[in-house]
């Protein structure tokens, strides 16, 4: 019983930690996005609330929470209420099987940096993400609004369609790793960048990765595949009739999905928490170096008299970065912080890609969208899978 209790206890703690981090990340991800896009477009972005607009997410949350929770008449009430709940819960559910790092020892407890590991982890994620369609579809339908309905329909069609190439793209690295468990998947990619699935073995899964990323954009309804919520034509798509926290739920679901997908990409193709090169080559120093450089940069800019508004924040951040760089040097935390760093770095890079694309590319037309997946993406993914499976069969004898 004790073991059981401790298992539940640890799991609960892990869940709490993950949830807290995740929700914060979600909130700040939006800020980051606004910032990134703003910088791409050569403008400052949020800047008022807090230093560099750092408190903007908090303000947003307060705003959303305090807004009137509007329940339009003529909607199908139960489903209307169910839809955002479904969307956010499905989005968050998949996090539960994603490993952030290896087994660690925290005091007396030895545990994985993962809520739970399933034999069929990948399938679980696919299953959960496929359930996510319901949220959007139902939202569109239950709103009893033609724009919403069209948005919902488009969204579900799009998601079903892109799920196919995505699954096929996932299958290829799975073949190479020969497992469905995400943890084992990462383990199989240990040993440097050339063991990652994206560059692995006889057939590097670059194509797979690209397909996966494209499909991921579509799955998350992100630009350039954000047809379901195309403001210009559909007002706002499936969430036209939603407001306040219900709207926020969809928003959060979208960003949660982004994180999930990025994490998936990391795990499947980029070796998860594994460092790109061996420790011997100084892999452990990389975060320290990065944060140190960041600290130097911050201090340098903070010293710039022209930046009046940042004259206090930048030096503070510089010092914080230095501290972090120092922390990374501590052997006690290195064992669990370094994997986390690598994981976060890779995921963050992909998230950055999402934002970058959003800032850069225009939106597709709907028929182009569907045609693209069925006529191009799907065959290519199929071919890729075929070649991969042949090569895998060839090499493993």
């Amino acid at each position: 019983m004790e073991l059981l209790d401790s298992f539940i206890f640890i799991t609960l703690i892990k869940a709490a930690v993950v949830l807290a981090v995740l929700l914060t990340t979600l909130a700040y991800l939006q800020w980051v996005e606004r910032k990134v896009i703003a910088h791409v477009q050569v403008r400052p972005g949020p800047y008022r609330v807090g230093p560099h607009g750092l408190l903007q997410p908090v303000a947003d949350i307060i705003k959303l929470l305090t807004k009137e929770d509007l329940l339009p008449p003529y909607v199908n009430k139960p489903l209307y209420l169910l839809a955002p709940f479904l969307a956010i819960s499905m989005a968050l559910l998949s996090i539960s099987v994603i490993p952030f790092g290896p087994m660690i020892k925290v005091g007396p407890v030895i545990t994985w940096m993962q809520l739970t590991d399933l034999n069929i982890g990948v399938l679980f994620i696919l299953a959960v993400s496929s359930m996510g369609v319901y949220g959007i579809a139902l939202a569109g339908w239950a709103s009893n609004n033609k724009y919403a309905l069209i948005g919902g329909l488009r969204s579900s069609a799009q998601m079903i369609s892109y799920e196919l190439p995505m699954s096929l793209a996932i299958a290829a690295p799975l073949l190479i790793s020969n497992t469905l468990s995400l943890r084992e998947l990462v383990m199989s990619q240990a040993g440097g960048i050339f063991h990652w699935n994206i560059l692995h073995g006889p057939f590097p899964q670059v194509i797979s990765f690209i397909i996966f990323m494209i499909a991921a954009f579509a799955e998350t309804n992100r630009v350039p595949f954000d047809l379901p919520e195309a403001e210009n034509e559909l007002v706002a798509g499936f969430h036209t009739e939603y407001s306040s926290m219900k709207f926020a739920s969809f928003f959060m679901a979208e960003y949660a999905n982004m994180i999930t997908v990025s994490a998936m990409a990391t795990l499947l193709f980029l070796g998860g928490w594994m460092a790109p090169w061996p420790v011997a080559w100084g892999a452990n120093l990389v975060p320290t170096v990065i944060f140190a450089v960041a600290g130097v940069t911050a201090l340098y800019h903070g010293a710039n008299a022209a930046r009046k508004r940042d004259k206090r924040t930048l030096p503070v951040f510089g010092i914080i970065f230095f501290i972090i760089a120092g922390v990374f040097l501590l052997p006690i935390v290195q064992s669990w912080l370094l994997p986390l760093f690598w994981f976060a770095a890779k995921t963050g890079a992909i998230l950055f890609l999402f934002m970058w694309v959003r800032a850069t590319l225009p939106r597709f037309r709907y028929d182009q969208l569907m045609g693209f997946t069925w006529k191009f993406l799907f065959p290519v993914a199929m071919l890729n899978l075929l070649v991969t499976s042949f090569l895998v069969a060839w090499t493993t004898k």
Binding site: L79, L118, N119, I120, L123, F124, L126, A127, V128, S130, M131, V133, Y134, A137, L138, G140, W141, L149, G152, L153, S156, A157, I160, E163, L180
Partner: protein, 165 residues
Amino acid sequence: MDVILFLIFAVVAVVCAINVVVQTHPISSALSLVGVMGSLAVLYLLLGAEFIAAAQVIVYAGAIMVLFVFVIMLLNAGAETKKGRSYLIPGAPLLIVFLGLMAYYVQRYLFPESAVVRFGGFTGGGPKDIGNALFTTYLLPFEVTSILILVAIIGAVVLARKEIE
């Protein structure tokens, strides 16, 4: 623990199934059906059928039912009208008898209480086992189903496409 899990999801499944039948609006029925499938997926897990559970969710709940929902939305189907003859009178008694007999036979003859299910009592339902069986013993049916799927795709495309004048 297993019993509780079973009971919870069995009750959910039954309630959802009843809902499927009772709800007048197809979309409610569809969502209830999703519920049934979800519960069944859990029960599959309980029975050690991991792969099938995942497939259940992906294929059934994630694809087939989405298709249903999609079609319902597309046709904007409303609640059904009470038209045409009702089969309640011949059907309901028959059904009750059917169910009673089935339950009776199952309980009384086929599977006495001694045969039980424990979680983890069977672990042969993973992807690997399924794959092994699928590509050895059941290779031919598997290939046949792939043909079937192909045919179904063609059929669906032909049926649903716009009439070319």
